[in-house]
Symmetry: C2
DNA sequence: GTCTATAGGCTGATAGAC
DNA sequence: GTCTATCAGCCTATAGAC
């Protein structure tokens, strides 16, 4: 998966510095909230390099998005071929989204911002990459229902629940950081670790989707 | 709760038109993605009215945020005083967030954008209003654990899961609309209705938090 | 591939008439 | 309370030297 333009032995260091710096900024302030000069400064390169390497601010933004989804989908592909039971696959799905959110901190926020805006900066050709994440969950859920380990839940609803709570958690870290700094958190309340959240989601989903082995406690 | 300046019988129609139009636009494109001229046009009033009534673009944005949280918290207050069992209260909490997201369509996206950015446009004095939503869930969860209907879950994790999946669902409607328009949805896949999602979340949470009456099926 | 200088366009705010 | 006209500042993109 080499880049294109590569004549010298400089491995596109400028390119990558720009993408890393920009991902961080775009995540925190959105496309319109970031100045190209700011990206360049943070990346330690010249402003004009953005146009040279990416054809402009939007090109840079899109390149980041493509990279993010490509990596995500590559990692998820293995799940579709695994023979593991559905409930275990779902746990792994959660783990993958979480670990990727941590290795690429800008991913959750950029994804959310983009999706919230209806994909304002995405060409139609990018939509399948988003759908592909859903297909991954869909396959697992349908498998679980078929095998009788899950109750007859809707794959879309399940997907939206899991991905929504996960990306929300990782994307909202800045707010929790601020709360702590401002000393606003109530007594005995501490921001949860990513590990704790992942386990919580995995457990909640496993129990919540489990086929009826016993009736649900209360009911109105 | 009357507004201030009201000499004539004009009930601040301009003010409200601006707030409604702006909420919609801010939700879809973020603070920096919206032009004041755009807001004014959509509201059918003059550009200069934004400065006159709100002191500027930021003032308008903040006024919307304050209104949104005030309404939300007012509605949630009743939950804290209700004698209903915890699992029912949690269902109601979900219902309230959902119905408010529908009556104020800009709410979920504005909330998410703001929280993702670490509250870039919020003064410290607004932070308690966000925390207050958490406190509401916290009270319910702790009650359920105390009464033995919930297993010993962490209120913060539970709160983040519920609020995250809910606001994500409602805020991402634009993307689903686009998917449909682009004819990109796979065979037999249709965007879920808000009602279906609410029920799904309520059910998932009720089952997922229920105290151990039976063992969870599979375990690695 | 990188940098400087600059152009060209747009943006939010306000002064002042009504 | 509302509107028109206007301005100062800022932002992205690029031409052209190295």
């Amino acid at each position: 998966m080499a880049r294109r333009t590569r004549r010298t032995h400089n491995t596109g260091a400028t390119r990558e510095a720009l993408m890393t710096a920009a991902a961080d900024l775009f995540a925190g302030r959105g496309f319109d909230g970031v100045r190209v000069e700011q990206i360049a400064r943070r990346a330690g390169v010249n402003k004009a390099m953005i146009s040279y390497h990416f054809g402009g601010k939007l090109g840079l933004y899109r390149a980041i998005l493509v990279d993010l989804f490509a990596g995500m989908n590559t990692e998820l592909e293995a799940l579709g071929r695994s023979p593991a039971p559905a409930d275990e696959l779902l746990r792994e799905f959660v783990g993958i989204i979480a670990s990727r959110s941590r290795s690429h901190p800008g991913f959750p926020a950029m994804l959310i911002r983009e999706v919230i805006s209806g994909g304002q900066h995405m060409a139609d050709s990018m939509l399948p990459r988003i759908l592909s994440v859903f297909q991954s969950v869909r396959g697992i859920v349908e498998k679980g229902v078929r095998e009788g380990t899950f109750r007859a839940v809707d794959p879309i609803l399940t997907h939206l629940t899991i991905i929504g709570s996960l990306v929300f958690f990782f994307a909202t870290d800045p707010m929790r950081v601020r709360m702590v700094k401002a000393g606003m958190l109530p007594e005995g309340v501490k921001p949860p670790s990513p590990e704790a959240f992942v386990i919580h989601i995995q457990e909640l989903v496993a129990r919540g989707l489990a086929a009826e082995t016993a009736p649900v406690p209360t009911r109105r």
